[in-house]
């Protein structure tokens, strides 16, 4: 009896405590819910810095004008408002809505845009477009600083015209404009924009190629160059080479290992976000320069893969990526360690999610952009397989592809690809993960990996293939962004190296022996 009473007591007590916990939890949840929403500081409407949304290349060719000399600040605001006029117009024709047009076109001028919008709506047409450059000269600036006339010479514009959401035309035009701008309500608004005939393009300075391709052969500083390289990340910081743990001593040691293994090239990766997107962080550039300088000292050539983890190929985002490329590439255009700029790693994997046309158009334009900022080095794209590698071959100097498929089919696929292009082929990634273990009990062992490389080496030597296996090291940590969260995938990615986690050479290392 007494025993039962105690049980009841304990039960009652537990129920009481439980109910209390539940009530407190509920109040907590309600409280945190009520605290979500806009940040309190947003009440203050503190002016936010000018968002960088549209950055086509702007060059002021001439600002001398008969009206009056222009101040730097006015010139900057004319430029900014003129670009925004293009930006809001691009958005207006994409969405068929005149958002922001009032701010950048005067009352009379905006009628023309509204006409276009209503015409497009009627015909169910939408246009995605972006201008890529503006070569401006100031023809006139009025004495009271309220009126300006610009010439925009040979402005390149990329357009994609859709009818009922299906692509009607993809086109690039070059056009020149005369523009009358009025300062109204603090905005430089377009009053007139008149299209003119283009001035003939002036040929810019001749390139002094460091790396080049002649008759299907890769040359580096005028001597034939056979790429025998390796994909490289420092062992402790894979996919984060230029982060807080950047250490040139480690990289220098690794370069020595690579050099001793009779290799002559490496492939490294530049993360678009990590390097600061449209405004490249100088500190990161310095780190990249240190790596390139080090490679120069150790006599290694570098294939730099850009735009790693970039995934937005939207036309309105183009100019931002162009500025990223400009800042990065023009800095190293004369660097004697750079072998090639690899625009993007495996962009074909984005075909499904980001639309093939989008991706290809972006790559094509990016190749042009890179060539304008650096005509001295090779340009390539790191396609993920042999099937797609021939795409855009006209726009690259060397065709790069990755091969993780059946080793027996390699020769056939390689010959197939060779028949589709006359450009040199680079086997930019291949390899086998020795991931036999808990997650993959029947997977390849280190021995299998070594055999794989031995077989591959024979084929590669026979055909004189340019190659870079994946990768130097086994890694202990793989970021989720690389292969996802699944542990067996991460596990696989950890064991592609020639050197294991403890720093000792795996059996496959003999691949490098001459």
């Amino acid at each position: 009896m007494k025993h039962r009473k105690n049980t009841y007591r304990i039960l009652l007590l537990l129920v009481f405590i439980g109910v209390n916990i539940l009530i407190l939890f509920g109040i907590g949840q309600l409280f945190s819910y009520l605290n979500t929403g806009a940040d309190r500081t947003s009440i203050l409407h503190v002016t936010s810095p000018d968002a960088k949304v549209y950055l086509p290349k702007v060059i002021w060719e001439n600002t001398n004008n008969p009206g009056r000399p222009i101040e730097k600040q006015s010139l900057a605001s004319i430029q900014s408002d003129y670009l925004k006029a293009w930006y809001v117009k691009n958005i207006a024709y994409k969405n068929n809505a005149p958002y922001g047009i009032d701010d950048y076109y005067t009352q009379h001028a905006r009628i023309n845009i509204l006409n276009h919008i209503s015409d497009q709506k009627e015909k169910e047409i939408t246009i995605e477009s972006t201008t890529l450059n503006h070569n401006l000269s100031l023809d006139f600036y009025s004495l009271d600083g309220q009126l300006a006339i610009l010439t925009d010479n040979n402005s390149r514009q990329y357009q994609r015209i859709f009818k009922q959401d299906s692509l009607l035309l993809e086109t690039q035009t070059i056009a020149s404009y005369k523009v009358v701008l009025l300062l109204e309500d603090g905005f430089w608004k377009i009053r007139h924009i008149v299209k003119q005939s283009n001035e003939p393009l002036v040929e810019t300075t001749k390139p002094t190629p460091i790396s080049s391709v002649k008759n299907g052969q890769v040359f580096f500083e005028n001597t034939p160059f056979q790429i025998k390289g390796i994909n490289y990340y420092p062992q402790a910081t894979p996919w984060d080479m230029f982060g807080d743990h950047f250490n040139t001593t480690i990289i220098a040691k690794d370069f020595d290992i690579i050099k001793k293994a009779h290799l002559n090239s490496i492939r490294i990766f530049v993360d678009y976000d990590d390097f600061g997107k449209a405004e490249v962080i100088p500190e990161k550039l310095n780190k990249l320069e240190q790596v390139l300088d080090l490679a120069r000292v150790k006599d290694l050539k570098v294939i730099v893969t850009l735009f790693d983890f970039y995934g937005n190929y939207d036309v309105l985002d183009w100019t931002l990526t162009h500025r990223h490329a400009e800042q990065l590439i023009s800095r190293f255009k004369n660097h004697k360690a750079v072998l090639a700029w690899d625009i993007k790693n495996e962009p074909d994997l984005d075909f499904k999610t980001r639309n093939k046309t989008n991706v290809l158009a972006w790559l094509k334009e990016m190749a042009t952009q890179i060539k304008t900022y650096d005509p001295n080095h090779l340009v390539t794209i790191g396609w993920s397989n042999t099937k797609v590698a021939h795409l855009l071959q006209k726009n690259v100097d060397v065709v790069s592809f990755h091969y993780y498929e059946d080793i027996d089919k390699f020769e056939k696929k390689y010959t197939d690809l060779q028949s589709k292009t006359s450009k040199p082929l680079v086997l930019q990634e291949f390899g086998l993960s020795s991931n036999k273990g808990l997650w993959n009990p029947f997977g390849p062992s280190e021995k299998t990996q070594a055999e794989y490389y031995t077989t591959f080496k024979e084929m590669l030597d026979q055909q004189n293939v340019h190659y870079l296996p994946w990768t130097l090291y086994d890694f202990t940590q793989i970021p989720t962004s690389v292969v996802g969260k699944l542990p067996w995938r991460k596990h696989k990615q950890k064991h592609f190296g020639f050197i294991d986690a403890n720093g000792s050479s795996k059996k496959a290392f003999q691949f490098f022996e001459e």
């Binding site: 023309n112 015209i161 086109t171 056009a175």
Partner: protein
């Protein structure tokens, strides 16, 4: 939509006919297009039709790139000779018009035509003038910018003469300016005289509005000052008025109304007093209350940073020599007065009388009072001033009366 479907089916059937009639080679033949319209320059408002000749009947569209945007135009008829009438919204906009003849995403023909501004219909002269006011003298100028447009809001052709007229006083000038870079502009310099310039522009029969530019006088030059007062006495009641001569600029124009003139007065003690006045018709007037004791003022006027005047000296005479003081109520009541002015009239109410009480050469209190009917009285309460010996200094109208060792 319906039209399009018909079009498509027509296209398919035509293709089938082609295939059956001709060899396989024909189907492989590249489709080419030729522009048959030869005119390349059109005037805005002119009806523009672009005709193409195709070597095979296929569905084509015309993509037109104008300065404001891109338009897709469907053919007028469903014929192999594709003919496109440009909509009015495009055919009336000045500038180069690039076009592409496309079929299924492939460009068959590319070209451009030029549309020029309309020369016949009414023009509009959009004019901007600035700055709206300038100063006299020949160095300052303003600018008139005319953006002439045709009836379709197109800037008119380069090298069109615009007549710009401006009038100033007896002078009326006309100049012919040619348009360049979509506009015509002219600088208008001021003359040595101040006044108002009227400007207008004319193109053919169309005239702009009238614009006016205010020409303000240039910088003022040095000037002289004078003063007027009702009497010479320092009664602290009357007002002395300072006036400037008519202030002129470098070119003899009377300076703008409202120019601020500062009058700086230095008195006997080298203290500075200041008063100001705004100019009307070139003359600035400022006022100052007479001092309440004899003094000599040296007065200079300035227009800050630009011009200054001569210095004048003004003497003020004391109104009286007498400061009657009476002690009563066992010296606890001090009566001062009657204070009399220069004609023995009572001094105006409000004259300040200062009483300083000291004991053993230490100041205990300073009392200030103003006169009423020429009189002031001070009461010294027992509570504050216990019986002892005090000294009193009484000051008024620049006079001082000292009473030492008074027993309370």
């Amino acid at each position: 939509m319906k039209l399009n479907n018909q079009h498509n089916s027509l296209f398919i059937s035509l293709c089938l006919i082609c295939l059956s009639c001709y060899s396989y080679a024909f189907a492989q033949q590249a489709i080419t297009a030729k522009l048959t319209t030869t005119q390349t320059v059109f005037e805005a408002s002119e009806h523009i039709t672009l005709e193409f000749e195709l070597n095979a009947p296929i569905t084509v569209n015309l993509v037109c790139h104008s300065a404001y945007g891109t338009t897709i135009i469907n053919p007028d008829y469903e014929l192999s000779d594709a003919s496109f009438s440009l909509p009015e919204k495009i055919s009336t906009k000045k500038g180069v018009l690039d076009f592409q003849l496309i079929s299924e995403g492939v460009t068959l023909y590319q070209g451009n035509i030029t549309i020029t501004a309309n020369t016949k219909n009414t023009h509009k002269l959009e004019s901007y003038i600035g700055p709206p006011s300038i100063s006299a003298g020949t160095h300052d100028y303003t600018m008139l910018v005319v953006v002439p447009t045709d009836g379709y809001d197109n800037p008119i052709a380069n090298n069109t003469p615009i007549s710009i007229k401006h009038q100033f006083l007896d002078d009326q000038k006309e100049a012919s300016i040619k348009t360049t870079d979509l506009i015509a502009w002219k600088t208008i310099h001021s003359d040595t005289k101040s006044g108002r310039i009227l400007v207008s522009s004319t193109l053919n029969d169309v005239s702009s509005k009238e614009f006016s530019i205010e020409v303000f006088p240039a910088q003022p030059t040095n000037f002289t000052i004078d003063y007027q007062r009702k009497h010479i006495y320092a009664d602290g009641n009357q007002i002395t008025t300072f006036t400037t001569s008519v202030i002129k600029d470098t070119y003899g124009n009377t300076i703008s109304d409202g120019t601020l003139v500062n009058f700086i007065i230095k008195n006997k003690n080298n203290s500075l007093l200041q008063t100001q006045g705004m100019s009307i018709n070139g003359v600035a007037t400022a006022l100052m209350l007479h001092p309440d004791h004899a003094s000599t003022w040296r007065v200079t006027a300035q227009i800050n940073g630009m011009a200054t005047s001569n210095t004048i000296t003004i003497n003020y005479k004391a109104v009286t020599e007498k400061l009657p003081v009476r002690f009563s109520n066992a010296n606890r009541k001090i009566k001062i007065g009657p204070l009399q002015s220069f004609m023995e009239q009572l001094i105006p109410d409000g004259t300040i009388v200062k009483l300083t009480i000291t004991k053993n050469e230490q100041i205990l209190e300073t009392k200030l009072k103003t006169t009423a009917n020429g009189m002031v009285s001070f009461d010294l309460e027992k509570g504050f001033y216990p019986p002892s010996t005090y000294s009193f200094i009484i000051e008024a109208l620049g006079l001082t009366s000292i009473h030492s060792n008074i027993k309370l």
